[in-house]
């Protein structure tokens, strides 16, 4: 049985499940929130003889039934506080809530560790989000070209960096954005923006930690979906459109076509993913007008449908096949 750990309203999970059904591969989907639901929550047992677990509920599953796991995403929510509702006024209420969320988190981590020690996992429990800069350092060490990068709190250093080349800024973390509640709620999503001399002027001498990178003279954006040693690459002609020149996510009507990376770049991608112990993920590259292939980042649980559909890569099927080979 293939175990899928995902979250509600995750379309790629649905599509892979369609394939598993079609290929007649038994599966069980567990959404992150199910793990907090006592009716479905897994039970773990450890003794001197063995470590074991099983999922409860209608579609129960024992560890021995599980032959492969797809860790897609893991939407979570705060613990159910109904049982401690009477404590809400108490000064220590938040501490109790925090305690309960940590208890949940540790139970889940233990479950994942047990699964990882028993079965093949596609995806990575511990790396659903990665530290961009750590990855950049790793990529540089493996031999990939990376953009000149500065993380600083100093305008002076930023000025010197900007003297060398035009620059962009983006968030250090995978920010989901900030919702500002005015007359109505507006969600401000985090995009990549160019830093102009005017902006620089307006910046104080010292500021909060920020990430700056050389602005690459893009010919193409490249999105690589990596699956167990294979690279499925799509070129995005983002330079045709003013809006997407800096960040291709701002416009959906770009040209997206299959792309064949040079073999040495593919080999470096395999090396990087192995070094990071990732067997799947989406990598972003830029091909510059001077022919550089510059690595930007990897998202271990990135959306791949936007690569799969225009290039007809059938990635849902390939994922289902990967999982069923181990089923």
């Amino acid at each position: 049985m293939v175990l899928i750990i995902s979250k509600d309203l995750e379309p790629s999970t649905d599509k892979v499940i369609d394939w598993l059904r079609y290929l007649k591969v038994p599966f069980r989907r567990v959404n992150g929130t199910d793990m907090l639901n006592p009716g479905h929550a897994p039970t773990l047992q450890v003794s001197s003889k063995q470590a074991d677990m099983h999922f409860n509920g209608e579609a129960s599953a024992a560890l021995s039934d599980i032959t492969a796991v797809w860790y897609r995403r893991d939407g979570s929510k705060p613990p159910d506080t109904q049982a401690i509702a009477s404590l809400q006024e108490a000064g220590y209420y938040q501490d109790v809530v925090h305690h309960l969320s940590q208890e949940n988190a540790i139970a889940k981590k233990a479950l994942y560790a047990l699964l990882a020690s028993h079965t093949r996992i596609l995806g990575s429990f511990s790396k659903s989000s990665v530290n961009k800069i750590e990855v950049l350092i790793n990529a540089q060490q493996q031999g990939l070209d990376v953009p000149a990068t500065l993380i600083t709190r100093s305008k002076k250093e930023l000025q010197a960096f900007m003297d060398a080349h035009p620059i962009i800024t983006k968030a250090l973390w995978e920010s989901p954005g900030i919702t500002i509640q005015e007359e109505k709620a507006t969600n401000y999503t985090s995009y990549t923006e160019e830093v102009t001399p005017d902006m620089l002027q307006a910046i104080p001498e010292e500021f909060f930690y920020s990430l700056f990178q050389e602005k690459l003279d893009k010919e193409l954006d490249l999105r690589v979906f990596y699956l167990d040693g294979d690279c499925y690459t799509m070129a995005i002609f983002s330079q045709m459109n003013q809006q997407t020149k800096v960040d291709f996510r701002k416009y959906a009507n770009n040209r997206n076509v299959p792309y064949q990376l040079p073999a040495d770049i593919e080999q470096l991608i395999v090396k990087l993913m192995k070094a990071m112990q990732l067997n799947t993920g989406s990598l972003d590259f830029v091909k510059t007008r001077t022919g550089r292939y510059v690595f930007l980042e990897v998202n271990p649980v990135g959306q791949y449908d936007m690569t799969s559909v225009p290039c007809n890569y059938q990635l849902d099927k390939k994922i289902a096949q990967y999982l069923s080979q181990h089923a």
Partner: protein, 333 residues
């Protein structure tokens, strides 16, 4: 060295008399006179710098301007590394045994709608069209049709209803109740009109038209109905776009490839859809792409045409029983 390339999503479809370029990303079709085909084929296998020698400076200038037009239109690009731009693999695969179904429904209770929906769900069906042959009240539509769709993976339902006194607002409230209901077509109506159109909300639409589908169930193929995309283009390479993985059940409960086809494959009360739709005889026409059909195989619209026509075989050649009104020679409809 620089080369001219069409984007892999911009496909030239050569016809016998005239050709077309399908823009699969943007769902647009451009006309392409056949006179240009030869030069386009030549320039794709030759770097730009060799062209002046082959064509002479004056003709090269003309050709270059011609190619620039495609680049301006964002259908093509120049590249120094054409080897990096492979073609799209046109294999079509979908994990569903049936993708869409047309269900006629009268008040005569000739078959169990609930059971059909359950079976279609098991077969992976994604979209259904329910053709009501008589008036259903909103509560009948809710109880007898929309309720059956709950908890299924059928995610698209369009309803065709004879004109009656149900208002657009009432239909919209049914759509709110069951979001799978995305389209309502009111036929035999006094006017052709779009009564409601909300692309933001699951592409919901309510349209009325004068034609009475009970009297005239043949579909009219028009250029405006073509909307090429990668999914249908790949499917059309090896399958009949109008019939592939489709099943129809008429108001009497008989199973057909399509409502207007004379052949039936048993009654749905007596046979399981899973059994019927896996029979080679039922599937035969799924695998007859337009490339195999006389007339259609010469047409530049053959990979986007959604004709549901029946297909007959004569002397080892296939023909559509209902030909469209497109005159390929004159390029007119």
């Amino acid at each position: 060295m620089e080369w001219f390339r069409f984007f892999a999503s911009c496909r030239i479809v050569a016809g016998k008399y005239s050709s077309a370029i399908y823009d699969l990303d943007r769902s647009v079709i451009y006309d392409l006179p056949n006179a240009f085909l030869e030069v386009i084929r030549e320039v794709e296998v030759m770097p730009l710098e060799q062209m002046p020698e082959k064509y002479g400076p004056a003709r090269y200038q003309q050709i270059k301007q011609f190619l620039d037009k495609f680049v301006e239109k964002e259908l093509a690009f120049y590249t120094t590394s054409p080897e990096c731009f492979p073609d799209i693999d046109l294999t079509w695969e979908k994990p569903w045994h049936i993708t869409n179904a047309v269900l006629e429904l009268d008040d005569t209770a000739s078959y169990s709608f609930d059971s059909v929906i359950k079976q279609l769900n098991e077969l992976g069906c994604q979209a259904i069209q329910v053709r009501l042959g008589c008036n259903f009240s909103t509560s009948q539509a809710t109880e007898q049709i929309l309720k059956a769709l709950a908890s299924t993976q059928i995610n698209f339902c369009e309803l065709m209803t004879p004109h009656n006194d149900i208002t657009a607002a009432e239909w919209i409230s049914l759509m709110d109740l069951q979001p799978r209901l995305r389209r309502v077509y009111v036929y035999a109506a006094p006017d052709d009109a779009v009564l409601y159109n909300d692309n933001e909300r699951y592409g919901r639409k309510i349209v009325s038209f004068k034609k009475d589908i009970r009297r005239e169930n043949k579909e009219k193929i028009r250029l405006e109905r073509f909307s090429p995309n990668i999914l249908s283009f790949t499917e059309a390479q090896s399958h009949n776009l109008g019939l592939n993985r489709k099943v129809a059940i008429d108001s009497q409960g008989y199973i057909r490839n399509y409502i207007s086809h004379p052949a039936t494959f048993g009654h749905v009360n007596e046979h399981l859809l899973a059994d019927v739709t896996t029979q080679p005889a039922f599937r035969e026409k799924w695998f007859l792409p337009n490339d195999w059909i006389e007339g259609c195989k010469d047409c530049q619209y053959r990979y986007t045409c959604v004709s549901n026509s029946d297909i007959r075989k004569e002397n080892d050649k296939y023909y559509k029983t209902e030909m469209c009104t497109f005159n390929q020679q004159d390029n007119t409809w």
